[in-house]
């Protein structure tokens, strides 16, 4: 008993330390852990935002507008009949062939439904049918097909039927699909990353650099409002 009395002060100290640890120190440690995870999360967001801001700042406004304009002509957000006519005529001229009997079936060419839908989705490319006839020699037709394949036009040939028209001349009926890309634009959360252009995408832009396209002001699709970036962290 006397021996135990000697340990009294030590036992009391350990008990006090235990109680203080459970009531004060442990919650502090837990808060530190939560703080560390918040810090790591915020650092990650900062890195993403810094990259995004860096990418946006590095873009040349004039170049971007020009590329945007050309790309909207090649792959419009809606069915662009004028654009297809212009492109076909130009490709025909470059290959010295005459394009006749152009027949479209674009259907609905303008609607306001997309603007009213508050759905933040980017739809896949859509297409409509295009049929036309090319009258030329076999060699000229080969050049025309090559021009069409190498051009940046969003046209895909599905079927070609060739008939002999007269001596040395052929008449080729072409069934193709013309693509357009409806975009119901939502920039989404400010933290949504922006990826840099890959090599294939850069190649397309390079090909467009010297491409003379008509001066058509591109239409920016209706914007779904972005959540307040200063409320979400």
């Amino acid at each position: 008993m006397k021996e135990l009395k000697n340990y009294f002060i030590l036992i009391i100290s350990i008990l006090i330390v235990c109680v203080l640890f459970l009531t004060f120190t442990k919650p502090q440690i837990e808060e530190i852990q939560a703080g560390q995870s918040l810090l790591a999360d915020t650092k990650g967001k900062l890195i993403n935002l810094t990259q995004k801001a860096g990418l946006l700042s590095s873009l040349d406004e004039n170049n971007l507008t020009e590329e945007f304009r050309k790309l909207n002509f090649i792959l419009p957000s809606e069915k662009n009949v004028d654009g297809v006519m212009f492109s076909l005529e130009r490709t025909g001229e470059e290959a010295s062939v005459s394009v006749v009997n152009v027949d479209f079936s674009p259907g609905l060419i303008s609607t306001d439904t997309a603007a009213k839908k508050n759905v933040a989705t980017v739809q896949k490319s859509e297409s409509f049918d295009l049929n036309f006839i090319v009258e030329t020699k076999l060699e000229g037709f080969r050049n025309f097909l090559r021009e069409l394949k190498n051009s940046s036009l969003a046209i895909k040939i599905e079927k070609v039927s060739i008939e002999k028209a007269s001596v040395g001349q052929i008449s080729a009926k072409i069934n193709a699909k013309v693509f357009y890309k409806p975009i119901n634009l939502s920039l989404g959360d400010i933290f949504k990353p922006l990826t840099a252009l890959n090599n294939q995408e850069k190649k397309i832009l390079q090909a467009l650099e010297n491409s003379p396209l008509p001066e058509v002001e591109p239409m920016i699709p209706p914007l779904v409002p972005r959540p307040n970036p200063f409320l979400s962290q």
């Binding site: 000697n6 967001k45 946006l56 037709f141 940046s152 252009l197």
Partner: protein, 179 residues
């Protein structure tokens, strides 16, 4: 001579007991001081953590302001990127039909006179006629011969073959290109 101890027996503590008490006291102090130090460290760490968080949040807000100010650019870039991605896929699907025309020209050089030719993404059908069996065999051999050890077409179907009274051959062939 025997020594006389005037103190009560209980009042005298032996040397080992005193040592033990001192040891216990030292342990107690060590525990309390360590605990106090641990809490001090935690306090300092928390202060630093808060300071870091405030600093990073400040930087985050600066970046947000910058991005908000570049919103027009972001919209254009976003659409540009989406459309370029689609164009890459569309371009991959485009078939080079011009090489088929070159092939047909080669057949023409071997004496084939084409009537009609139809090609889709997965099938080429043509009807033609040729003057004699020598030309016919030359045309057929071009279709089935191997190019660098590989067949040019997956399938070559001779759908019809007729010889008219003048000895001319007319035929229809369906080819399935390799995908």
């Amino acid at each position: 001579m025997k020594g006389i101890n005037l103190l009560q027996k209980s009042a005298i503590e032996s040397e080992p007991v005193l040592k033990q008490k001192r040891k216990i006291f030292v342990y107690t102090v060590i525990i309390l001081v360590s605990f106090a130090l641990l809490n001090l460290l935690i306090f300092i760490f928390r202060l630093k953590q808060k300071e870091d968080l405030i600093k990073i949040n400040g930087q985050l807000n600066n970046q947000k302001n910058l991005i908000v100010s570049l919103k027009d650019r972001e919209i254009k870039y976003y659409i540009l990127k989406e459309k370029l991605g689609s164009l890459v896929l569309i371009n991959k699907e485009k078939t080079d039909f011009s090489s088929l025309i070159s092939f047909l020209e080669e057949l023409e050089n071997r004496g084939a006179e084409f009537g009609s030719i139809t090609f889709t993404l997965d099938k080429i059908t043509f009807s033609a006629n040729t003057a004699n069996s020598k030309n016919l065999s030359s045309i057929l051999s071009l279709l089935v011969e191997e190019d660098e050890g590989k067949k040019k077409f997956r399938n070559v179907v001779l759908s019809s073959l007729n010889q008219d009274s003048q000895g001319k051959y007319s035929f229809t062939i369906t080819l399935t290109p390799k995908i």
